[in-house]
């Protein structure tokens, strides 16, 4: 599998064009200002980290619609643990474990229950959100009362390096590298591709496709928990509406990055670039004066155009 396939070449071209357009055509070249880049650097990793997991799962041939519920649920667990004054590394560990367990549950539902992942995770999405709303009574919880500023846990997630370089960006790059190494160079990565591309062949060759898929769900869950802490610390609070819409945005980022909805096709550099493209599109359009609440319309059009182009590029590429 070439990492730089024709699909990602295509994403790179669009990304660069968007970049140039926004650099030159935003008023006063606001796009390139440190404040804007800093804000992008803090915001982008939220979606990026989720998309990395969701995209990897898509390569294995499954979806996870429940990420939008795993995020606020683990955020709730995180804030509650802080409230109870648990040692910080325990807080970190248990929050990550929450996502891992929810991911495992999704995975087992799909592989053992033989359910289409769309249905299974639609169910868990609604289930966890319902439980969460009851548990938190829809009340936001501020973090500041339970966490002094400047502790290692906060610096680790939302600190800055040098003169204002957000550490979030490093996490996004770090996760991209780790997942990139696994997906493209580790044998488990090959199993992910084969599972998504031809499950029957994978099984015939002794690959435990159930295990592969469940592990991918766990990866998604853990990344959701990680991001939920990052987001809660940035916003300094838990909100019950956290994470809404992330499941579809993550899928969109993956698709823009050349990931197939049928499994077996995709790449980590592609998903990385796909996230960048969507975020820059959103950011640039707002800077250019597009109505903030109508921004989804543009993104929707963008995604469809991308999908059409990918399909046609693939057809041409095969000829």
């Amino acid at each position: 599998m070439r990492i730089f396939s024709y699909k990602i070449t295509f994403t790179i071209i669009v990304f660069i064009i968007l970049l140039l357009v926004f650099i030159f055509f935003t008023p006063n070249h606001i796009f390139l200002k440190t404040e804007n880049l800093g804000a992008l650097g803090k915001l982008m990793p939220d979606l990026g980290i989720i998309a990395l997991g969701a995209g990897t799962l898509m390569i294995s041939g499954e979806f996870d619609l429940s990420v939008g519920s795993i995020i606020p649920t683990s955020s709730f667990v995180f804030v509650k643990l802080l409230e109870w004054g648990a040692p910080l590394f325990i807080v970190l560990l248990i929050t990550l474990l929450t996502g891992a367990l929810m991911g495992t549950f999704n995975g087992l539902l799909v592989v053992k229950g033989n359910l289409p992942s769309f249905i299974a995770t639609l169910g868990t999405m609604m289930f966890w959100r319902g439980i969460l709303y009851v548990a938190c009574r829809m009340m936001p919880i501020g973090i500041r009362a339970y966490l002094e500023p400047g502790l290692w846990l906060e610096n680790m997630f939302t600190g800055t390096l040098g003169n204002g370089f957000p550490v979030q960006i490093l996490w996004f790059i770090g996760f991209s590298i780790i997942l990139g190494l696994i997906v493209h160079f580790h044998r488990f990565g090959n199993w992910i591709y084969v599972t998504g591309d031809n499950k029957i062949a994978a099984r015939a060759m002794g690959i435990n496709t159930d295990m592969v898929k469940t592990v991918c769900y766990i990866i998604v869950g853990v990344l959701c928990s990680f991001m939920s802490m990052m987001q809660a610390l940035r916003l300094e609070s838990f909100a019950a509406t956290q994470g809404i819409g992330y499941e579809l945005k993550a899928i969109a980022s993956s698709v823009v990055g050349g990931t197939s909805l049928m499994g077996g096709i995709g790449s980590i550099p592609g998903i990385f670039l796909g996230t960048l493209t969507i975020q820059i599109l959103e950011n640039g359009l707002i800077l250019m004066g597009a109505p903030v609440f109508g921004i989804n319309a543009f993104i929707g059009v963008g995604i469809i155009l991308f999908a059409i182009l990918h399909i046609n590029v693939e057809r041409i590429g095969l000829r």
Binding site: M1, R187, N190, Y193, D197, A201, A204, M205
Partner: protein, 258 residues
């Protein structure tokens, strides 16, 4: 002493068949799939397993490759009685099955397909990609297949070349018996010819081949011996020199021993 045991070993090898299935029965509920089938594959031969639809060819093969278990009968592999309880165990014995369209992942590179599930690693499970590329190219060219770039996706290959990649896999992993289930189905004349060349190549590497097909002409072209199944029973076991295409067709269509 040494040479004598070597001779004995050789003798044993030529006298004992690679596989012997004795008196195999298989039922699916009340349906009799196989009844008292005696089946043999010798060392280093290409056997054509022929018969009409529903004759029991795939049931017999699935018992041999561990997907089904026989309800009665015994299986000997290299002279030892074996109980093939799983596909994994069949693989460990050296029995590999190549199913059409089920063997390969189309969007993944040739070398990754060859090593699917058995990737060589360097450390911590990271793949040795140089070895994968080198060895897969090496094995594919051994089959007489000309492919330049093993990093290309399988979907770019023709049907015959795909079979070649699937066969290269079993060649690389030192199978003793390769079962090819309808490998020429849906292939062009030229590609079918190519696949039959692959079989001869496997034989020259000392591997036995069971060639399952509906196409008597292909079977007659490639195989040295024919085993005909009809309604779950062994109808005939013929050497090539004792039969002809017309004779085989006659046997299969009449479903009767002469």
């Amino acid at each position: 002493m040494d040479s004598q045991s070597e001779i004995q070993e050789k003798k044993r090898k030529t006298s004992t068949p690679l596989v012997r299935m004795i008196d195999i029965d298989k039922f699916f509920g009340k349906v009799v799939a196989l009844k008292g089938v005696n089946f043999e594959v010798k060392e280093n031969e290409i056997l054509g397993l022929v018969g009409d639809n529903g004759a029991g060819k795939s049931t017999l093969i699935k018992i041999l490759s561990g997907f089904h278990q026989a309800d009665r009968g015994e299986i000997y592999f290299e002279g030892n009685k074996v109980h093939i309880h799983s596909p994994k165990y069949a693989k460990r014995l050296g029995i590999e099955t190549v199913y059409q369209e089920q063997a390969l992942a189309p969007h993944i590179s040739i070398s990754r397909n060859v090593f699917m599930g058995r990737e060589p690693t360097k450390f911590l499970g990271f793949m040795n990609r140089r070895k994968m590329d080198h060895d897969s190219l090496d094995t594919i060219s051994k089959l007489g297949l000309r492919i330049k770039d093993t990093e290309a996706a399988v979907e770019a290959l023709s049907g015959g070349q795909r079979q070649g990649v699937a066969i290269a896999r079993v060649l690389y992993f030192k199978a003793k018996l390769v079962i090819l289930d309808e490998p020429t189905m849906a292939l062009s004349v030229k590609e079918s010819q190519q696949v039959m060349e692959f079989m001869k190549q496997l034989k020259s590497e000392g591997i036995s081949v069971i060639f399952i097909t509906h196409n008597i002409f292909h079977a007659y072209n490639a195989a040295e011996r024919f085993f005909i199944l009809s309604h779950g029973e062994g109808l005939a076991d013929l050497k090539k020199k004792d039969t002809s295409i017309d004779h085989l067709i006659e046997l299969i269509t009449s479903g009767r021993r002469e």
